[in-house]
């Protein structure tokens, strides 16, 4: 364990920006969640209606968690925990892998290990950094929630619940980093564990029963097998179960001890399971520019299609329930009617839902397009462009795959959402409304894609920050633009502002054609610039 403290300082120096961004972003989300509950449930009747909906609705139980009474604090922490807990767990797991397995992969650990550094010091440092970051997130969440004026005790309990999930996943990532020989494998295992934790919690909350009074849920035992379930069972502003902190800490300690024991039994750079072998020859389908691009892009596309279809199914199937709820909640109704005054609650709900899912699905577009920048930056594009593949040809293959992928991602959320709604209600005209609402988002997503391609051509170093910032800005404008009272000219910068709110509004082709034209113009600019610039080559 010699030199652990020195390695901790090194890791904090390397992560000084990324960890601060995580902490601020997660705390900001917590604040935003509470604020939206404060503004949407203004009367006691609103809060009781909302709590009753969340407690009784199976899909709310699956996606949000166990309802915990009608207080604003309890409802927002219950609703927000899925995002806050999962993000914190991802942050912690990635930090551990980055400073343990990733360093072994790049050879940095070898250099460090040859110095006066204990064998377990890099692992210990990685865990210390991740656990500290989780505590910082927990404090940040508590301060952000408390600052909204909903009370401090529950805020601290909520912060503990968020940090605790991060702790356990730091421990899981520490074990995974010993078992798997690559950081990709270790991160994948941690993400898989996170998915399993979510499913266990969802099953436990779904099969639980509604407590007398109808405003809270008692979860079934599977919830207690999941670290995310433990976080939900803290029940901030309802039960404030502090003893669960001990469960988090004990599990984390156990996992870290297992990881340390495994580390003592293996060589530097090796894992417990080897990387699987691949074919000695490439299949014919790989042997073209498009084949290569598809191979590189298919994984992220399949994950997004599955995720967006699931979201579409979840939100689509609650359409009727939600519409009934909106009909009886004046604040919510007023908020939704800013989209299209006087429209039917179900249409409003579908337009609102797809406006959100449209921007969320564009996350695929951004992530997949940034693969081009990663290929260039990490040096894999150089040998490709040294073959008979032209720059325009390479760029076209990626843009076409991502463009079609965007339509598929958004279309699948609308299609599956419509099918789920139609199957439950037999209202097939309402079902087609969801699909239409999804389809009109595609030109806006492509306009944002055009921006990413333009920046990739003109200012390659700025591709990633500009792309993510543009997406985040579009998300904030779409969700909070009205609440924050942003000026119209600023809202007009976001392509999603121009999408007609189908089916609450009638379909209009002109704005969609303009968005398509913007996408083509920006994309053409990016193509022209990329063909003229130097290739960025590492080293």
């Amino acid at each position: 364990m010699t030199a652990t403290w020195r390695l901790v300082r090194l890791a904090l120096r390397r992560d000084r920006i990324v960890l601060v961004v995580w902490v601020v972003a997660i705390a900001g989300l917590a604040w935003g969640t509470v604020q939206s509950y404060v503004s949407l449930t203004q009367t006691e009747a609103d809060r009781i209606a909302a709590a009753a909906l969340v407690a009784s609705n199976p899909l709310s139980r699956v996606f949000d968690g166990p309802a915990s009474g009608p207080s604003v604090g309890a409802m927002s922490m219950n609703d927000g925990y899925k995002i806050l807990g999962i993000l914190t767990a991802l942050m912690a797991a990635q930090a551990v892998v980055r400073h343990s397995r990733r360093d072994e992969e790049t050879g940095r650990a070898e250099l460090v290990g040859s110095a006066v550094v204990g064998r377990r010091a890099p692992l210990a440092a990685a865990v210390v950094v991740a656990l500290t970051a989780c505590v910082a997130v927990g404090v940040g969440v508590a301060l952000a929630v408390g600052a909204t004026g909903v009370g401090w005790t529950g805020a601290w309990a909520g912060g503990m619940a968020v940090a605790g999930a991060g702790w356990v996943f730091a421990g899981i990532a520490a074990v995974a980093s010993q078992v798997f020989g690559t950081s990709r494998g270790a991160n994948g295992a941690a993400a898989g564990a996170l998915g399993a934790a979510f499913v266990l919690r969802a099953i436990g909350d779904l099969t639980g029963h509604v407590a007398p009074g109808g405003l809270s849920v008692v979860s079934a035992w599977p919830s207690w097998l999941s670290p995310l379930g433990w976080g939900q069972q803290v029940r901030p502003y309802f039960l404030d179960r502090w003893w669960i902190a001990g469960l988090f800490a004990g599990t984390t300690l156990l996992l870290v001890l297992v990881a340390a024991a495994l580390r003592g039994r293996r060589d530097l750079g090796t894992g417990m399971v080897g990387a699987p072998h691949g074919p000695a020859r490439a299949p014919a389908g790989l042997l073209s520019t498009t084949g290569m691009t598809w191979r590189l892009q298919r994984g992220v596309l399949l994950v997004w299609v599955a995720a967006m279809a699931t979201m579409g199914a979840a939100f689509g199937s609650v359409g009727r329930t939600f519409a009934d709820y909106v009909a009886g909640n004046d604040a919510m109704r007023a908020m939704l009617e800013t989209i299209a005054p006087g429209a039917a609650p179900l249409d409003l709900y579908q337009a609102f839902l797809m406006a959100f899912l449209g921007v969320a699905g564009t996350g695929y577009t951004v992530q997949a397009l940034l693969r081009m920048r990663a290929e260039e930056q990490e040096g894999r594009l150089e040998p490709v462009l040294a073959t008979a593949v032209g720059r325009a040809c390479w760029l076209t293959s990626h843009v076409l795959v991502v463009g079609a992928g965007t339509a598929l991602v958004l279309g699948s959320s609308g299609l599956v959402g419509g099918l789920a709604y139609g199957a439950l209600t037999d209202d097939w005209s309402g079902a087609s409304g969801i699909l239409g609402a999804a389809a009109v988002q595609v030109p806006a997503a492509l306009a944002l894609a055009g921006l990413v391609v333009a920046v990739f051509g003109l200012l390659p170093r700025w591709t990633s920050p500009v792309a993510w910032f543009a997406l985040a800005a579009a998300l904030v404008m779409g969700q909070l633009g009205e609440i924050l009272e942003l000026p119209q000219w600023l809202l007009d910068v976001s392509p999603f502002t121009h999408v007609p709110a189908v089916p609450a509004e009638p379909f209009a082709a002109a704005p969609l054609l303009w968005l398509g034209a913007a996408a083509l113009a920006l994309g053409a600019l990016g193509f022209a610039a990329f063909r003229r610039r130097d290739l960025a080559i590492p080293g």
Binding site: E105, G181, T182, R184, G274, A275, P276, H277, G278, P279, A280, R281, A282, L286, L287, S288, T289, M292, R295, L296, E378, G379, R380, E382, P383, V384, L385, A386, T387, A388, V389, G390, R391, C393, R532, R533, D534, L535, I537, P538, G539
Partner: protein, 308 residues
């Protein structure tokens, strides 16, 4: 047209760093042309300009009669490139990466590909993520050298290879030139260049400071003679053509300019030769002539640290 590569006054800057400062490089067809210089002298930048991956600020480059920037794609069908530090797709197997790069170039000789995989003792079923540096390099070498093309641009291709594989690499390069191919071999391993090259160009700070066939360049430098004579040599450092001499009793070591070698041998013969060995000038000496001052400066910088 008998020049595979010709550049005239090529310049390239990255921000305020001048990478190439008027580079004139000529590579004849059928040659193995050594491109020598230390790290940072501009070797990789030159090769990337010749590939059209970077765009020259000034000057003109012609590769196989074509403009490397404008005609990149058609040109690349006729050449192969082996980078010195190759990044591969972690999820592809080595065999898939080789086949992919070969297919994207267009010309692939499958029998040759399989033969090279065999000769370089590469396991093509391993994932690229689990290859060592040397094995990643083998993937790049096989993907490049299996090509049936006219010109091979090799940028420090053997970095990370062990001596056995280095020997295989030399054999394969000789086979390529025997079949009429042209090779530009960038390297700072002088023994490698000496073993393979017909001609060399030495680059320093973005300019070619010495170029020519290896034989002609050797002629410009000094031969070292070790002699034992019956009668001790008398002040040989005063003889014309002798640049340095160490005499100890009847043995002596002389550095002799190529033009005066005959006269010096005659003078030695007059002292009664017992043994005589002659060492030809090495590429290293040639190289150090151009980098001697840089080396002296490094020594000068190192001195205070030693005395402190």
């Amino acid at each position: 047209m008998d020049q595979a590569i010709e550049t005239r006054g090529l310049t390239k800057s990255f921000g305020r760093t001048v990478a190439l400062d008027g580079l004139d490089l000529v590579v004849e067809r059928g040659q193995v042309h050594g491109f020598l210089g230390p790290n940072g002298a501009g070797k990789s930048t030159t090769i990337r300009l010749l590939l059209g991956l970077l765009r020259a600020d000034g000057g003109k480059a012609t590769v196989l009669g074509a403009d490397p920037w404008r005609d990149a794609v058609t040109l690349h069908r006729r050449l192969a490139y082996v980078p010195g530090d190759v990044a591969l797709w972690p999820t592809l197997s080595g065999g898939e990466a080789i086949d992919l790069l070969c297919a994207l170039r267009g010309s692939v000789d499958r029998a040759r590909r399989d033969e090279l995989v065999d000769r370089f003792a590469l396991d093509p079923t391993k994932r690229c993520s689990s290859y060592s540096k040397g094995n990643r390099q083998k993937v790049a070498i096989v993907a490049g050298l299996a090509a049936d093309v006219e010109l091979f641009l090799l940028d420090e291709p053997t970095s990370g290879l062990d001596p056995l594989m280095e020997a295989v690499f030399r054999d394969v390069v000789r086979e390529i030139t025997a079949a009429g191919g042209t090779v530009l071999l960038s390297s700072h391993i002088l023994a490698e260049a000496e073993a393979l090259c017909d001609a060399v160009s030495i680059i320093r700070a973005g300019r070619i400071v010495e170029t020519g066939s290896l034989a002609a360049l050797r002629h410009l430098t000094r031969t070292t003679l070790h002699v034992t004579t019956r009668v001790p040599l008398d002040r040989p450092e005063a003889w014309p053509g002798v640049f340095g001499a160490e005499v100890s009793d009847r043995t002596a070591r002389l550095e002799v300019g190529a033009d005066d070698l005959g006269g010096v041998i005659e003078r030695i013969a007059a002292h009664g030769v017992v043994t005589l060995t002659s060492a030809p000038p090495t590429l290293e000496e040639l190289f150090l002539r151009h980098y001697g001052d840089a080396l002296a400066r490094l020594d000068g910088e190192r001195e205070p640290a030693v005395t402190r």
